[in-house]
Subunit: 336 residues, 2 copies
């Protein structure tokens, strides 16, 4: 077997690769009984005293490096901050591993580093250590940034992607499909002259406000594989179903337009500044209000609720129902 | 300016890139007063309660992936374990970010993952989370593994690469030049049929035994830029000089042979299983004995001592002296 593009695109094909080749061959997969490698959560944890240290890592290969709404620098910090945040931990620091192609313009590198810095300042996160490598011309396409985040949460307060309870409400923090469609339309030659922008942003403020209300049961950021993948993953792992009101899912006009033009489902492409939050139903409205006051949460919606079923069901206002399946892979390659 | 190979090869050129483009543009560089980005130590730390969390990250681009004595999998885990160890912290866990070329053989990936697992089992470290990306044919040469390590040490017991004291003895845990020369000779077509093997190995056992004696002041693993770079870095940062007895530096016969054949200084090429340890002179002999009983420390030597000078001086048994300068860059590219 040879590795294919779909092995890195989220979804089922990637899960199989990870299970068959990676998990099977690694013996030590967790520390101190924390969240480990085979939990396949957004990150892992190490219980230490009264705290739980949360770690998450992501290699960023986005193509192109600069896209409408952001660049690989912003993406790498926001993406890692978000993976720490959805586990309920306060992000503290990032490590920055960069591999750069020989001949890469130093000015572009500086722009990218400044983008990283901006997200760090916005979220109060520090870049505390790093590593820089250079590969020869022809051996690497531009650059790869691998960021690892570390956060902390009080022991027992970590949020898992497997702890939805029947009756919980599902909050989505804003519109979906923006990142994947912005990348795709840019690659198709629409350039920067479009209303379509990536949503890349740190969602820690949203999570922090939601956690403060006290009803959050489970969270996930819908990146590779999009909303469809994230909803199915969080439902499957929790052993529950979801009933989602399709009309409540925010979709921007240009995302709808491009998705129809390219024949790509906006629910299956990556988002980089959104979060799905399961909340106890009694606290759902209060949590929604708190989220709507945040910088990136103004368009948040309660999109549905957790059921005893074992499918993710989309229901339209006219009463039509369909099963939302997890995609085999994200239809847009090199999306993050 | 464009990024050149020497910007990723350790040494002075890389330090300039890091200072001018990275450090200058990042505002938040440390957390809770711990070791931060601009300390340019082997890793960083975050003080939390009675503990200090130590983090280190490394992107592995070694060419070829499989070389005499090891492969990228062994290198990535050992390298990161070693960076945590030289800060005096017990390595606990690793995060594993892999970027793989489309078409990469799954069998090779499995071999690499098994190599990672073997070092983890040897050192008691766990791989607790990861990320997998795939890049198109022609956009990436084989694969890159970025590992981030996390370790813990009691607050105040962290070892810095800037804390050598005048009078300390310098212990080197074994022969130098093995890794760089093994890679170089393999690339020159000598293949696997040579006595020359990479020294890639985890040095945590050596460090653990040395720390238990109580006299360690400072440590560094001589990777990119070799022994010459590491000795100069640890001396400069500590504001001291070193007097090293050249005849005490262990060098293997095949390393000497290849270095003469290729005209490459064995002190300037990378090692991946060695450590330089500064020790209070009263405890130097006891520390050396403890190190010599470890799996990878049998050839350890006290190679010199810390002086009030501000150079690294090599002295031969005949009394000849010369200054050992830090190399501009590692003469062997893509060494780790």
């Amino acid at each position: 077997m040879k590795i294919g593009m779909s092995h890195g695109a989220g979804g089922e094909v990637m899960q199989n690769l990870i299970s068959d080749i990676i998990l099977k061959n690694i013996k030590n997969k967790r520390v101190n009984g924390g969240v480990g490698l085979d939990d396949l959560d957004d990150g892992a944890s190490i219980p230490l005293g009264d705290l739980e240290i949360v770690l998450s890592t992501d290699g960023h290969t986005v193509d192109p490096l600069f896209f409408p709404g952001g660049d690989i620098g912003k993406l790498s910090i926001a993406g890692t901050v978000n993976d720490i945040a959805v586990m309920g931990a306060k992000p503290l620091a990032i490590t920055n591993g960069m591999v750069i192609r020989e001949g890469f313009p130093a000015d572009d590198l500086e722009t990218i580093v400044k983008s990283m810095d901006a997200v760090c300042q916005e979220t109060g996160v520090s870049i505390i250590t790093g590593d820089t490598k250079v590969m020869e011309q022809g051996k690497l396409d531009e650059m790869i940034i691998t960021t690892t985040g570390i956060g902390v949460v009080n022991k027992g307060e970590i949020k898992r992607d497997s702890s939805l309870k029947v009756g919980d409400k599902i909050i989505l923090s804003g519109s979906v499909g923006d990142h994947g469609m912005a990348l795709m339309s840019y690659r198709e030659g629409f350039g920067f002259d479009t209303d379509l922008q990536s949503d890349v942003a740190p969602i820690w403020e949203i999570v922090e406000k939601a956690l403060a209300i006290g009803g959050v049961t489970s969270m996930k950021d819908p990146t590779r594989g999009g909303l469809a993948n994230a909803l199915n993953e969080i439902a499957n792992k929790s052993g529950v179903g979801l009933l989602v009101e399709e009309d409540k899912i925010p979709l921007k006009e240009p995302v709808i337009a491009v998705s129809e033009m390219l024949g790509i489902d906006p629910y299956e492409v990556a988002n980089e500044g959104k979060v799905i939050i399961g909340v106890e139903k009694e606290l759902a409205d209060e949590t929604l209000s708190a989220i709507r006051k945040t910088r990136y949460g103004a368009q948040a919606q309660i999109i549905g609720e957790v059921t005893e079923d074992n499918h993710v069901i989309l229901e339209t206002s006219l009463g039509g129902k369909r099963i939302l399946e997890a995609p085999i892979a994200d239809p847009v390659p090199r999306v993050c």
